[in-house]
């Protein structure tokens, strides 16, 4: 085989290799969703960002409209500052609220935008004022236990079973309800 023939074969091989990389980037990775069009940035402050990660999706009405670009910590207000990168074709009113929610029971966390009713739209560098932090499961359980304990304490005073051991309150409650 001449030099030309080998060069053609090698060229084909390199092309197939590059096609494979492109296939992987476009079809099985998120390159296509990364690079469509221009974007603008807005920031939002959260008391607790939970398990939000960089490059997590930003959705409105369930549709992906952008990504989390940066997460930093404000040492003055002790809040997390999340910078969102939204696609330019989507505009939101200035009184839009942002909330950190979880996809499914075990899924990743993402930011959900709920548009307000203002006439003016968020511009680049704008701030989303109304935010709702991530739900932290431990806090929820803690609150639940606390409220149960408060309820139980109220019962205990009325029912005069203080110091009645661990087992007693539960069946007692069951009989009451």
């Amino acid at each position: 085989m001449g030099r030309k023939g080998i060069e053609i074969l090698v060229g084909l091989f390199v092309l197939v290799g590059i096609l494979a990389i492109l296939f992987l980037a476009l079809k099985s990775a998120n390159l296509a969703s990364l690079s469509n069009g221009s974007t603008y940035e807005v920031t939002a402050r959260f008391d607790n960002i939970g398990g939000l990660k960089m490059r997590a999706p930003v959705r409105s009405a369930g549709v992906a409209v952008g990504r989390v670009k940066r997460i930093t910590f404000d040492n003055k207000t002790f809040q997390g500052i999340v910078t969102l990168e939204l696609q330019s074709q989507f505009e939101f009113p200035v009184d839009t609220s942002a909330k950190i929610v979880t996809a499914g029971l075990l899924g990743d966390q993402y930011i959900s935008l709920e548009p307000g009713g203002d006439d003016k739209n968020l511009a680049a560098g704008g701030v989303i004022k109304s935010t709702q932090s991530a739900l932290v499961l431990e806090n929820l359980i803690g609150q639940f236990l606390y409220s149960k304990a408060a309820e139980g304490g109220g019962d205990a005073k009325g029912g005069d079973t203080k110091g009645g051991g661990d087992v007693k309150p539960a069946p007692e409650k069951a009989t009451k309800k």
């Binding site: 080998i6 091989f13 992987l24 079809k27 099985s28 990775a29 998120n30 296509a32």
Partner: protein, 262 residues
């Protein structure tokens, strides 16, 4: 055994180890120095990409496809227990891009291309072709070694990408065509979970590093082989063993560096 001999044994092993380390380093530096000369005669590199890459295409593509098929079948068994069969595409793509693509390709590459490089150079040495080139004032390192090194380094990442792509297609064949997972969910779960830079990019970096390691080991073993038939056969065996161990060790280090922090 006398204590003195014992100590002397330790000493001679240590010296031998250091010598071998030094020979490796010197050989690598030599190789790097002759890479620019090989780039000027690029047709030599092209011929090597053909010998190393094109001729490995079939084994790599077939292995990738079968690994993808099997990965999808086995993954489906576990995932369906959790009712998460739609995640099958994600499991197949992530395991291929991050680990199996680069590592299995490098192991196959050591067996398919590394051995042929070692045997070729070992036989050139045994037939005194390398010595003859030196006599004609042609440096065998820039004429023989450096083009082969570049050929291997160019071919390996492309082969790994072909392996992974074939594997993803294999996963699609089993997941969507045979098992009947919804194709939309299959691809969108995959795209949602696979990151271009974190997963695909790091996989390509891995395969590049493995390409350098395997090709270097193959060339070194060939160049340092004893110039006899047994010497060449031993060098070929050592290429597979040493290159595979290097690939596995490097894989652990690279994985720890790339993926340990989320």
């Amino acid at each position: 055994m006398k204590p003195v001999e014992f100590v002397a044994g330790i000493g001679s092993r240590t010296i031998e180890l250091l010598r071998s380390l030094g020979r490796h380093a010197a050989f690598f530096a030599d190789l790097m120095r002759h890479v620019p000369a090989a780039l000027q005669r690029f047709y030599l590199v092209t011929a090597q990409v053909h010998a190393i890459g094109n001729l490995s295409f079939l084994i790599i593509g077939a292995s990738g496809l079968v690994v993808g098929l099997v990965l999808a079948l086995q993954g489906y068994y576990t995932l369906s227990r959790y009712g998460a069969a739609e995640q099958l595409g994600l499991v197949v793509a992530l395991s291929l891009l991050r680990e199996l693509g680069p590592v299995v390709t490098a192991l196959l590459f050591a067996g398919r291309a590394g051995t042929s490089l070692t045997a070729e150079i070992g036989l050139m040495k045994a037939g005194e072709q390398l010595a003859a080139m030196e006599l004609m004032a042609v440096d065998p390192r820039s004429r023989v070694l450096a083009p082969r090194f570049l050929g291997g380094v160019i071919a390996m990442p492309l082969l790994a990408a072909i392996f992974s792509a074939a594997g993803v297609i294999g996963g699609w064949i089993v997941g969507v065509l045979l098992i009947g997972i919804d194709p939309g969910a299959f691809w969108s779960e995959m795209q949602g979970g696979v990151d271009v830079f974190q997963d695909l990019g790091n996989g390509i970096i891995k395969s590049f590093v493995f390409g350098v390691a395997v090709t270097f080991v193959a060339l070194y073993q060939g160049y340092e082989s004893t110039a006899t038939p047994e010497g060449v056969s031993q060098a070929t065996t050592r290429t597979v063993v040493v290159a595979s161990l290097w690939v596995l060790a490097l894989d652990f280090v690279l994985t720890a560096l790339m993926f340990s922090t989320p």
